[in-house]
Structure formats: structure tokens, C-alpha cells
């Protein structure tokens, strides 16, 4: 009897929400169901994944989801978002609940191999930092020995923190929280001296403080945190689509193509640009990816090039005002680099 109920519940759930056949070909699945299911940050991380009061999503990670939808369907609105906590995110991708995990997730070897995901494109080069109250008079992370530090559990941040203090022979008292907003509140209430997470996150959290000017981010960056979209392993078609959606945005910036001038650039004589925008007569780039010919044009029309997306979400055009830094194009001293499109 008991199990009958469980089965009935599960069965009802399956029937009710439309079962789809199991295939390791996410691209076909996505095309069949007509939208991309995208896992994003559930704790409203301004600049990366945040929802306004009307329920619209925005952010760098969200733009990537939109870019993929634009590339596949030519319509950036064909995305459904699943807000995820740090804990839910990996099971959600493993189980096929979501098609892309774009939740400021660090690409690390264990996640790439052991957890069974694939990472390649990096949409934000980040590093872990510390934020303290200015009144503490702390100028460097190396002065934090003995401090209580707020950290979110189950993140690479938590591991880097332990390693950094160990490596520098310092001790600390971790104050661990399940959700980021709890950590914010605790830091605010003076429960801990310092707050650690990715530097971009620190800027975003600092903005939410009552007086952002009372807090400062320390200069030390203690880790490499390449944040990028993850997909399930052994699904190279879909992996290519997601990675190249990002690279298309970077390439567009390299070519100087923007949301505004993309139509005009179609008429360009530059063979690279023509190939990129699908204007070359016998180009098979789109078809080889399993996408329409004008996939890149659709991406740029929807979200602009990488630089535009960056400025709009986290850069000068946003309250975060983060400098391009490592995320500038490689030609400008940064790390953003699109492999050749040919």
C-alpha cells in the first residue's frame, strides 16, 4: 500500500509534467521541448543571476542562457530558469533537470572529471577575496589570523579558505551558512570579522549593505575561480553549442560587432566577419553545430557582444562597477579569448 502511494505520486508527477525520452542528446531534447532549462543562482546575486520584483531574470550568467536560446531558436525568451542553491546545483544537472548550469560555478578538475560535467567556456574570471569592515583597520588578508570568517558551505570558497589559512600558518574560526543571505545577515550583525567569497560576489554583497562605504575588499585574491557554464559529460553536441555561444559573444567583441551595428556588419567585406555572421554563401558553421545559419547574429541581437553584456550586468553600466581586469579581451591584457571561427 505504502509504495503504491509513492508510485502513484511519482507516476502522477511524471505524467503531470510530461515525460521526455532519455537521450544523451540534449540539443535534440531542447529543440523538441522548445526551450532551454537553465540553472541560475537562486539567492539573487546581482550581476550574475538575479530576479527583479516582476520576476524577470538578468545577469551575466542569465545572458549566457539567453544567448544559447537565441542561437538554438532565434528567440532569447525561450529560456526557463531554475533558481538553485549551492547544494541543489550539481544534482540538478546530473539528473537532467536542467540543461545548462550557469550559476557562477567554478571550473575545477574534480567537477570536470569526478562529478561528470564538462566545462570549457569561462564567462567570468574570478578569484576569492575577503571583505572586512573598515573600522577593523585590517589592510591585508594576512592580518586575519584568529578572525571569525563568514563563508557559505559546500563551495570551493570554503575549501580555499581552509587551505589559505593552513598554508600561511594562521588560524580562523569558520562561521558557516547554508545560504548566502544568511551569511550576509550574520556578517552584518557582527557575527564575523570578515566575509569571504568570489571577489565579484563581494562587490555585489557590499552593495546590499546599509553603508557600502563602511566595508572594503582586501587586496589579496587567494584563488583562481574561472566561472563558467557546465553541461553533462559525453554530450559534445550540446557542449559545443553552449561553449560556442559564449565564444560568439567574445568573437563579436573582437570583431567590434555590437547589438546596434550587427545588421550593418552583415554587409561587411571582411571574410572573417562574413563567415562568423553566416553571410558566406556555402558556410556550414551553423549547420555543423546543429544550429541555424545566422546563430551568431541572433546571439548578438539578443544580448550583444561579451563587452556589452559585461558592462550592462557588472561593469560601468551597473551598480557593481567592476573593472574589466582579467575579463578584458586578450588584446587588451585580459584573458577573454575566442578560438578562431573557421
Amino acid at each position: 500500500m505504502a509504495k503504491k502511494i509513492v508510485t502513484a505520486l511519482v507516476g502522477a508527477a511524471v505524467l503531470g509534467l510530461g515525460a521526455t525520452a532519455a537521450q544523451a542528446d540534449t540539443l535534440s531534447d531542447v529543440k523538441a521541448k522548445g526551450f532551454v532549462q537553465c540553472g541560475v543562482n537562486g539567492s539573487n546575486l546581482a550581476g550574475f543571476g538575479a530576479q527583479d520584483s516582476a520576476g524577470n531574470w538578468s545577469g551575466l550568467d542569465v545572458d549566457l542562457c539567453k544567448a544559447v536560446a537565441a542561437a538554438v531558436f532565434g528567440d532569447a525568451t525561450k529560456v526557463k530558469y531554475t533558481p538553485l542553491s549551492a547544494k541543489d546545483r550539481f544534482p540538478a544537472l546530473q539528473s537532467g533537470e536542467i540543461d545548462i548550469l550557469a550559476r557562477n560555478t567554478t571550473w575545477s578538475i574534480s567537477r570536470d572529471s569526478q562529478l561528470g560535467f564538462d566545462f570549457r567556456a569561462v564567462n567570468y574570471y574570478d578569484g576569492q577575496g575577503f571583505m572586512v569592515k573598515k573600522e577593523l583597520g585590517v589592510k591585508s588578508a594576512l592580518e586575519l589570523s584568529g578572525a571569525s570568517i563568514c563563508v557559505q558551505s559546500g563551495t570551493t570558497t570554503e575549501l580555499n579558505l581552509a587551505d589559505y589559512f593552513r598554508a600561511n600558518n594562521m588560524d580562523f574560526k569558520p562561521v558557516v551558512f547554508e545560504a548566502q543571505d544568511e551569511a550576509d545577515a550574520a556578517y552584518n550583525a557582527g557575527r564575523c570579522d570578515a566575509y569571504t567569497t568570489d571577489a565579484s560576489g563581494l562587490y555585489s554583497i557590499r552593495l546590499k549593505m546599509a553603508n557600502p562605504d563602511d566595508h572594503m575588499v582586501l587586496p589579496e585574491i587567494i584563488s583562481k575561480e574561472p566561472l563558467g557554464p557546465a553541461v553533462r559529460q559525453n554530450d559534445s553536441k550540446w557542449f559545443d553549442v553552449v561553449s560556442w555561444s559564449h565564444y560568439a559573444m567574445v568573437a563579436a567583441e573582437e570583431f567590434g560587432i555590437t547589438q546596434a551595428n550587427v545588421e550593418e556588419k552583415k554587409k561587411s567585406d571582411n571574410p572573417d566577419i562574413k563567415r562568423f555572421l553566416g553571410e558566406e554563401a556555402d558556410s556550414t558553421i551553423g549547420a555543423d553545430l546543429g544550429l541555424p545559419k545566422d546563430w551568431a547574429v541572433q546571439i548578438i541581437k539578443a544580448v550583444g557582444n561579451y563587452g556589452e553584456s559585461f558592462e550592462r550586468n557588472v561593469g560601468e553600466g551597473s551598480p557593481l562597477k567592476i573593472a574589466r581586469g582579467l575579463n578584458a579581451l586578450w588584446t587588451k591584457g585580459g584573458l577573454q579569448y575566442a578560438p578562431p571561427i573557421r
Binding site: 562529478l115 562561521v175 544568511e182 557575527r191 559529460q233
Partner: protein
Amino acid sequence: MALADARTGSGEPPKVSLLYNPALRSAVYQIVTLVVIVAAVWYAWHNVVQNLARANMTAGFGFLNSRAGFDVAQSLIAYSSDSTYFRALQVGLINTLVIAAAGVVTATIVGLLVGIGRLSHNWLIAKLCTVYVEIFRNIPPLLVIFFWYLGVLALLPSIRTIFQHVKENPDAAFFISNRGIYMPAPVFGENFGIVLAAFALGVVAAIAFTIWANARQRATGKRPPVLWVNLGLIVLFPLIVFVVVGAPLTLDYPVPGSFNMKGGMVIGPEFLALYLALSLYTASFIAEIVRAGIRGVSKGQSEASYALGLRPGQATRLVVLPQALRIIIPPLTSQYLNLIKNSSLAVAVGYADLVAVGGTILNQSGKSIEIIAIWMVIYVSISLITSLFMNWFNAKMALVER
């Protein structure tokens, strides 16, 4: 399970069709259930295997021996980020047991007092106890935890204020701040083992004396002064030994460090919030159980004991409470189990209990099935052990018919 109407032909002797054979039917129902269960389990298992294979993951508990890599805020056993996941789970389990034990003891005491208080003939006390019970019983425990953690403890003085306070009062030894309660920690000298041995000896002697005293009371009707002798054996005797061996105990006082107080002992706000919330929440239920238990003992019992010349205190202690306990224990057991299970709310304030630590491991290793299985096995075991103990206690307390 609906049936067609059974009508047998009128002329012939009623033939019981196989369809209405109860044994056969029961067998059919059971086989159907079994098939459904097996199919559901198989379906789930098949999908898990497929999902894991798709994600290129293996199932198994081997990961418990890998390095944890994260630090735990509260640990009673040696633990560092170099320890294994298994060790981290041990830390979590111990923390769960600590909060459960502390909560059970406090909730029982508070519950007993409030329960008796509600029956008090002192109108004011009875009303105050009623108000307490009605407030705490009807608010979610998680909200009470947040209330203490975010609402009350966060309003305590900051650590900087405490530093200032220490500067002005260098002799202060206890501090209450929003980082917890700081107090001196005992440092045991080398001869402290002797004191412990004396204490153990005292306890053994006290038990022996109580057994002898009971025997003597049955034989002669006179009761030796058990309380005073036992107090002497358990408290005074170790105290004398303590002084004789040269007081091998010093106190380590907390002093201001660069960010936190150094030395001493600290009870963190996470523990305090959880402890206060669980105890006070559960106490409101225990109070109701105690009240129902005492009211369940007929009034004649206490009247009879007064008639026998017992004082009110004695009547309550020797006649009413033992009988009330029989009514109290079964629901009390389920309240204890609830408290133990509610201790998993620790995860909300970052107290490193089994669920919080397990959650971190789940996240770091991605082994969701294994971790949830570990949780379930441990909690079911704790529940079973508690039930067994309380059932044993209940059997011991049950009416002995002579």
C-alpha cells in the same frame, strides 16, 4: 477493490467461486502490491544507475576516506581540514547528540515545572504558565531558532564592546557578546585523575548505600538518611580529596585577542540559539503532557495519602508522580524523538550537526544518495535506541500487579 454483487443461483447449493476465496484474494492483492513495489524500486534504481552513468559517477561509500578539505566551526573531537569525510560525519553526529542531550534535559526540567505550575492554585503562576505554553506551542521551532539567533543574540554587545569592557574591568571572567558566552576554562593538573577516581568511588559507594538503605527500610521500616549520606559521598568526599592532593585545577581566563577573545571557553550563539529554541519549544509540549498526567491520577489518591499522614510534598513525590509517570512516559518519548529530529534545524543557523556537515559533504563530493542514506540510517537508529530505552523505562515504571 470494488466488487460485483455476488449472487449465486437459487436451486443449486451455493458454489463459492474462486473469485471470492478470501485466501486467494489476499494472495492476489499481495502479489499485486509486491509487483508494484518491486516495479517502483526497480524503476527508481534503473534511473539512478542510468543517471549516474550519464554523469560518469560511481556509487559507493569509498569517498568517506578522502580528505574533507573544509573546516568545521564546532568540534569536540580533533578535526582539521586534513581529516576525512568520515571524521567530519563523526563530528556532526557528536554535535547532534550534544544538542539533543542538552535539549532533552532542559526541556524536561522546564516542562515539568511549567506543567506543575499550570496546575498550581496560585492564579498568577497558573496563568503565566498557560501563556507560555500557548505561545511556544503554536509557533514553528525554526522561527524560534531565528528569533533567538537573528533577533535576540545579534543584539548583544559586539566583541569590540567587550574588549572595551575588559580594559575597564580587568578582573571580569564572564562575557556575553554576539559571538557567544565567554567563560574561564578549567585546566586540569596532573593529580586530577585521583579526584576523578574519588568521585567514581563516591558514586559507587552511594549506589551501594542506597541499596542497603532500601533493604533496611523494608526490614525495619526506618529509612536511613539516604540523601545526606549520598551527598556527602558524591560531593564532599571528592572535594576533600581535591583539597588533599593540592587543588590540581586552574582556570584559563578569556582575554582579548586581535579579533576574538583568546583562551577560556566559549559557547557559540549558534549552539545557544538552537538549544534555547529546542528546549523552550519542546518544554511547552512536555508541560501539557505532565499536566495531563497529573490530572489523570484520581484525586482520591492524593486524598488517601493525606489521610495516611503524608505531607503534600511527599504525597506528590511518592504517590501522585509515580502514577502520573505511567501516563506521561509514552507521549514524552515521542516528544524526545521530536526534539532529536528537530535538532536537524541546526543547518539553518550553521551549527555543525549531522545534517549540516552531511550537507556540506554532499555538496563537496556530489554523493547525494550516499549522504541521504547515512542520514536516514543514523536518525532511524537514534530513534530506535531512544524508543527502546523509553520502553524499558516504561516497563519498569508500569504497575506491578502482585
